[in-house]
Amino acid sequence: MTSLLRHQAYEEERLQRVAEKLPCRETQAGTLLSLMGQPQQYSYPSIFIYGHRASGKSHVMQVLLKELELPHATVSCVECVSVALLFEQLLLSFFGCDAASLLPRSPSLSDFVRIYRQQCSQSPAKQTRYIVMEKAELLRDTDANLLPALLRLQELVEDNVTIILLSEIVWDKFRPNTGCFEPLLLHFPDYSKGELQQILSQDKHPSYSAEFYSSYINILLGVFYSVCRDLRELRHLAALNFSKFCEPLADGKVKETDTHKLWRNIEPHLKKAMQTVYLREVSSLQWEQMQQTEEKETGTVRGLSAHTHVELPYYSKFLLIAAYLASYNPARTDKRFFLKHHGKIRKTNFLKKNEKTSNHLLGPKPFPLDRLLAIFYSVVDNRVAPTASIFSQISSLVTLQLLTQVSHDDQLDAPKYKCAVSMDFMCAISRTVSFDIVKYLYDFL
């Protein structure tokens, strides 16, 4: 088992301990260890590790560096909103707080390198120092010099230091246009289904047997594996739904070995979980409460997206309907839909459409204010005066982000809008004013 993790610089037991903490990641840890070499030797200046989310990049690095007691600094690029924070953190973890306080108020890279060299000459590295940067893709958005400088930090500070970048995104998207020192690329492959099963089965429940939990994980993966391979997400789902899985057992209806009945019980529940908890429609707390209160059918609690229903004034509703119609219907069909005596429009010509021009595929089109008002007057039954309140309702719809103003060049004169609500939302609104919107939509004719 531990044959992959072997290095002459470290004791066997210690590596054994490391290997136990890194299930299914021995190969990668072994490669990393052999690249890092013995502590006092030089290591490659920069290593770039990429792989999917939750494929153990940070974990492997963390365990290796902690267990083998190597000097290191771990920095998350999300936290370091300014380079000053980054520099401070690095100096702090390598040389203590005296060094960090030497930094001027808004330090440049030059200051950092100067102080690093100063400190380094006082306490030269006996072992390779490691800098681990998590979420390294954010380094691209900072100062353009930062990434190339970090990649050749070993050369700049003349110290035995290695920088390790962790990211989800491939290296090709990082390369600056004048090039830089190329790091060693290392890929962390995704966990296979078997490996996921193995890792997830490790955190079993104490009061049930390991096989029981393992069969539960098997069912869970059967439902979710085709959608999600994120270990963290799966682990979260497993923890949430386990109590439901055990329920028949607690009631004494089935035995532990009766897998089929257990599956019959849990499967619809898990399917529901995919539409609710997985999408964070229902929070995990709500989900747990729902499971406890038996009588309530799961899913009856309205999720986040069900709350999008908003109460609008009567005319605002019609304004929104008009906006939707204006956005999703071509202007040439307005005559046919909204005029009583629209003369003759040839039917074949009118209905000539193909999928490519369907607006429900392409998205809403912008329309001028005049067209909106024209449609509005035709869909509202009674006569409406174009008062200030109508116009203010239009602009308040824009503030509510139900409409968006397209071009900002002219505020007052002929503004253009787009409707930014979904079909379902629109159907719900039109039902409240008993208006059959589908009849007026060109795409559904």
């Binding site: 072997r6 290095h7 002459q8 690249l35 070499g37 013995q38 030797q41 030089y42 490659y44 990429y50 792989g51 999917h52 440049s108 890279l109 030059s110 390198v113 100067r114 100062d143 010099n145 190339p148 400088a149 050749r152 070993q154 050369e155 700049l156 989800e168 995104i169 491939v170 290296w171 998207k173 004048t178 090039g179 020192f181 190329e182 060693l184 690329l185 890929h187 492959p189 995704d190 296979s192 289904k193 085709s226 959608v227 391979r229 995919m274 539409q275 997985y278 999408l279 429609e281 997206s305 490519k356 429900h360 595929l361 392409l362 998205g363 809403p364 968006t404 787009k418 930014a420 979904s422």
Partner: protein, 434 residues
């Protein structure tokens, strides 16, 4: 098991391996200077002569070292400096200022750095100067006075020279070149850059003050030379403590380089790039496989290392996608084929996916729109698809136009390697009509 035990008992082997790792890691990782630069003898001679003239005779010079990344520019410069400082007189007299375009991002920082490296912080103190030239003039003046009577020559090394050309008004470059042109303190300005068009970046007045002396380091390596270089890079030096081990090692490296499969690998690397860095990366990967249990490099190691260098990162990422995400990628590929590279949005992709599901009887992949949206967003996070315009807040998420950042062949290749790929998905991907 027993075999390794025997080897462990021979302590010298472990010791030797440690030594080997140390020697090579210094060579590949921290770019230890070789005794004699290879293949750049004429450039070396030229630069040495030039700097010697500044250091000894007080002649002002400026020169640019131009070459692609990893061509050995810094190595050449450092070798020259090492050889230059061997002379007593030069060592006593010459002052060096090293600036890097990555660190000194504007002229104020650069000036501070110059002051510091010339040990003049106490002289300048809190004095406030009017112009940049005045300050620089004062610095150089202080140098003149600092020494007995004559002025000491100063060597300015500007690494990443092209970045200095982006400073405002190029004041630093103007002043440095100006000093080197007029009869003031003797200075030599050495710029190191990887841009061949670096002179186009300079302003006219700066350009006219530059001596237009350029040293090009363009590699004219042939494959036999490349292979030879690999061999010398992997050979142990003569001063290795254990003679017997060094001889064995060098012999095995010689055998290795003559191996047919290794030669093929080297040829591939040679074809893709000739620079030292890439070679070092390959050799470093080979070296990391050397351990006590396996005390020399085998052809298989070289093959493995080269595979690691040449692996397609995007295909690796595609391998880890869930089946739903893969289906979306295939749908995007079909959209790209049908509409000839027009951007698409989530609705179109979903529509395409639904068409596939309709044709198929089983409804295994009947997912709701939000689940598909989540998968789509994951693809966007991985930057496998990219929004056409960045004004994302304006449009709804499902109507935002996207472009696929993948190649046709990459998708097909990833599909072949995908573990347990359903046959109908594979057939769907193959079929020409979505």
């Amino acid at each position: 098991m027993s075999k390794r035990k025997v080897k462990d008992d021979h302590m010298p082997v472990g010791e030797c391996i440690t030594q080997v790792q140390e020697v090579f890691r210094e060579r590949f990782c921290c770019q230890k200077l070789p005794e004699q630069p290879e293949g750049v003898e004429s450039q070396h001679k030229h630069l040495l002569e030039l700097l010697k003239r500044t250091a000894v005779h007080g002649e002002s010079n400026s020169v640019l070292i131009v070459g692609p990344r990893g061509a050995g520019k810094t190595m050449l410069l450092k070798c020259v400096l090492r050889d230059l400082l061997e002379e007593k007189e030069v060592e006593k007299n010459l002052l060096q200022v090293h600036l890097n375009g990555l660190l000194q991002t504007d002229d104020r920082i650069a000036l501070k750095e110059i002051t510091r490296q010339l040990n003049l912080e106490n002289v300048v103190g809190d004095k406030v100067f009017g112009s940049f030239a005045e300050t620089l003039g004062f610095l150089l003046e202080a140098l003149k006075k600092g020494d007995r009577s004559s002025s000491r020559p100063v060597l300015f090394v500007l690494d990443e020279f092209d970045l200095f050309a982006h400073h405002k008004n190029q004041t630093l470059l103007y002043n440095l070149f100006d000093v080197s042109q007029s009869a003031q303190a003797p200075i030599a300005v050495v710029g190191v850059t990887c841009r061949l068009d670096v002179l186009e970046l300079l302003e006219k007045r700066v350009k006219s003050r530059f001596s237009h002396r350029q040293i090009h380091l363009l590699s004219s390596l042939t494959f036999p030379q490349y292979a030879e270089r690999v061999r010398t890079q992997l050979s142990l030096p003569d001063d290795f403590p254990d003679d017997k081990f060094a001889q064995d090692w060098n012999a095995s490296v010689k055998n290795l380089c003559e191996d047919k499969s290794v030669e093929e690998v080297l040829q591939r690397h040679f074809n893709s790039s000739k620079d030292y860095r890439m070679m070092h990366m390959l050799l470093m990967l080979c070296l990391s496989r050397v351990s006590v249990a396996k005390p020399n490099i085998k052809p298989a190691d070289v093959l493995e290392a080269s595979k690691m260098c040449f692996t397609d990162a995007k295909a690796n990422m595609l391998h880890g996608l869930s089946i739903l995400e893969l289906c979306l990628v295939i749908a995007m590929k079909h959209l790209n084929d049908v509409y000839e590279g027009e951007p698409f949005n989530l609705q179109m992709v979903h529509n395409e996916f639904k068409k596939f599901l309709h044709r198929k009887s089983s409804s295994m992949y009947n997912f709701e729109q939000p689940v598909i949206m989540k998968a789509f967003e994951h693809l966007q996070q991985l930057e496998l698809i990219r929004p056409v315009d960045s004004s994302s807040a304006k449009t709804q998420r499902e109507y935002q136009l996207m472009r696929l950042m993948l190649d046709h062949s990459q998708i097909m290749e990833a599909l072949q390697k995908y573990p347990q790929c359903p046959t109908d998905v594979k057939q769907w991907a193959m079929s020409a009509f979505g």
